[in-house]
């Protein structure tokens, strides 16, 4: 609670965050930037490509980390993450139906701009799965059962996806597989604004959930005794996670491991489990990690860009492994 203790840590995080934004946007153009000689072409490249991409990285980092934190506290499980409710499987199902399923029937469906076929399909799939989880939740008492339902839904979705992959032509399968690898570059300027609106609304909702999550850490019964309306709290947490995770899956694909690993990294750095502090820590750390992933996916090999999931996995897995191996470090919030 003592804000003085955290001031220095947050100051460092803000500085790193700002530096990473700068690098992500202007990397390769530094000399031109400082000599004030950005050409027309460079200006377009920065405003049309670099900025949307950087914003996508920041938004997905923030969204996944905050919803990962919420899921870990709600389910009191250190290995929970934004996808435990099966949201990403819903997205994958939607995208697979568009990229592979529709082409089998001969229809092509491809909008443009903010509402391209893939984005719509993915968002619809996420929403559908969210609604299923909601209606199950109204019947189920125990939160762990919702977790099981999420896993089962995910398996059912991937079964359908596998069938589609098996019967579809190679070209379509590849475009689906590329989607599952996650991509920050598919976000254009129009999509960027829609993405901002969704993540911002999820984040604003989350602002009101930090105190409640502090009580939910100790289970439903204590949360109730301490004054939480547990049912309402859980529905709002699911809604914010749905908004945050759903929009990331829709615009960037199922970006892996960030949502599980960053909340732990944040807890280690901040040294608190108070959600009022962790929330801001996750926003900064999530943004930093995704920017780091984006920058390294571009500079590791200058010729090709690596898929972003490869990078986030390479960053996330060692962190999770470290946490699992050193027992005392892994403490669910």
């Amino acid at each position: 609670m003592n804000s003085g203790n955290y001031f220095f840590k947050f100051l460092v995080l803000v500085i790193v965050f700002t530096a990473f934004i700068f690098i992500a946007v202007f990397f390769g153009y530094f000399s031109d930037l400082f000599s004030n000689s950005l050409s027309e072409w460079e200006y377009i490249s920065i405003s049309q490509i670099r900025i949307p991409r950087t914003v996508a990285a920041i938004l997905s980092g923030i969204a996944l980390s905050v919803s990962g934190m919420q899921m870990q506290s709600l389910f009191r499980n250190p290995l929970a993450g934004p996808y435990v409710l099966g949201i990403s499987s819903g997205g994958a199902l939607g995208v697979s139906l568009v990229t592979m399923g529709l082409s089998l029937t001969g229809i092509t469906f491809s909008g443009t701009g903010a509402f391209s076929g893939v984005v719509i399909a993915s968002a619809a799939g996420c929403l559908l799965f969210m609604l299923i989880i909601f209606s199950l939740h109204l019947k189920i008492r125990h939160p762990a059962t919702v977790l099981v339902a999420g896993i089962l839904l995910g398996s059912a979705a991937s079964a359908i996806v596998e069938i589609l992959q098996y019967i579809s032509p190679e070209r379509n399968v590849k475009s689906f597989v590329v989607w599952t690898m996650g991509s920050l570059s598919s976000v254009d300027t129009d999509q960027m604004y829609v993405f901002i609106v969704f993540v911002a609304s999820g984040i604003i909702l989350s602002l009101f959930l930090n105190n409640v999550l502090n009580t939910l850490r100790s289970g439903d019964e204590y949360a109730h005794v301490l004054g939480t309306n547990v049912k309402l709290a859980r529905i709002l947490v699911f809604t914010s996670t749905g908004l945050l995770t759903g929009s990331v899956v829709a615009f960037c694909g199922p970006i892996a491991f960030v949502g599980v690993a960053v909340p732990h990294i944040t807890r280690l750095i901040i040294g608190s489990s108070n959600h009022r502090v962790l929330f801001w820590g996750n926003i900064l750390c999530g943004g930093i990690i995704m920017l780091l992933a984006d920058i390294s996916s571009r500079i590791m090999f200058s010729e090709i860009q690596l898929p972003v999931n490869a990078i986030t996995s390479l960053i996330g897995i060692p962190v999770i492994l470290y946490l699992v191996l050193s027992k005392n470090k892994i403490s669910f919030s």
Binding site: R217, H224, V225, S273
Partner: protein
Amino acid sequence: MNNILKISELRTGYDNAHPVIKSPFSATAEPGQITGIIGPNGSGKTTLLKTLCCLIKPLSGNVLLGNENITLLSPLERAKRISYIMTGSSVIPDIKVSEVVEMGRFSGTGWIRSHNQTDKILCENATERTGISHLLSKRFHAISDGEKQRVLFAMALAQNTQVMLFDEPAAFLDIPAKHGIYKIMHDISRTDNKTIIFSTHDISNAIAICDKLWAFSENKIESGLPEYLGIKNVFSMLFPDNILLFDTEKMDYVTTSISNSIPVDIKGDGTKYKWTVSLLKRLGFDPGCNISAVLSVITNENDDKWIINYNSNQVIVSSLAEFEEKMKCVINKQPL
């Protein structure tokens, strides 16, 4: 302000077909009083406590605090009036002790506000009253069970409610920790004028500290002064089998001696005598049988000897281990 907790005609349980508390229960608990709930496992102690903090809805009847029906209060308003600490502490996450205490302030801050000066003072006061200031920076899972219970008391105190409910607060604790907990309860009931209700299996201590007892037995609930229940012989009838009897000398339960125990006449004095009697009881003898002819034991406080007379043989042993061996021979009907 009238802050009496008034339970009237309450029936409660998890489903209507099998209520845990079957016959309607009425009682009151007043500020500044400690009420103890006693009774065998499964008699509904925890169910009643959970009903009082609205974790379980009553099947019929109601609970009033002052003039308010507690089941009609919003979660936050209820949490400003009633706190509850469950038995055990396994559900509390491994967070800093200070953060556990701060959780108690949720009813004050609500969903949005952060801690203000009042919240901080209440937390500090709670920490001080329970004597856990030195633990604040430790992690909850790293402290002892007795300390954990104190921390949970601090959380409940920080909640700053009129009614405080505790489910077996002293279970699993060693004797000093247990008395520490009772002392805190007594202290907060007297100085802060709180209404304390707690369940316990530790009946002798409950008699010693409670202003009132609610005794749950299979079919009915008796309530009143501990001594009143004692005079009505409620304690002996609490556990309906014949092995346990309530001994009013010790103010605790004693097991009745096993019927086929071997009578032994033991003479002596002091601590050594008392422990020898304890050993004989444990082995299945019936000490204090003055007319016994077959076996007699003589101990003296000042030497290391036990004189055993058995079947007109006399054996003198000089260590307790040897004495135990000889007594086992008696049980097995072997010569000494």
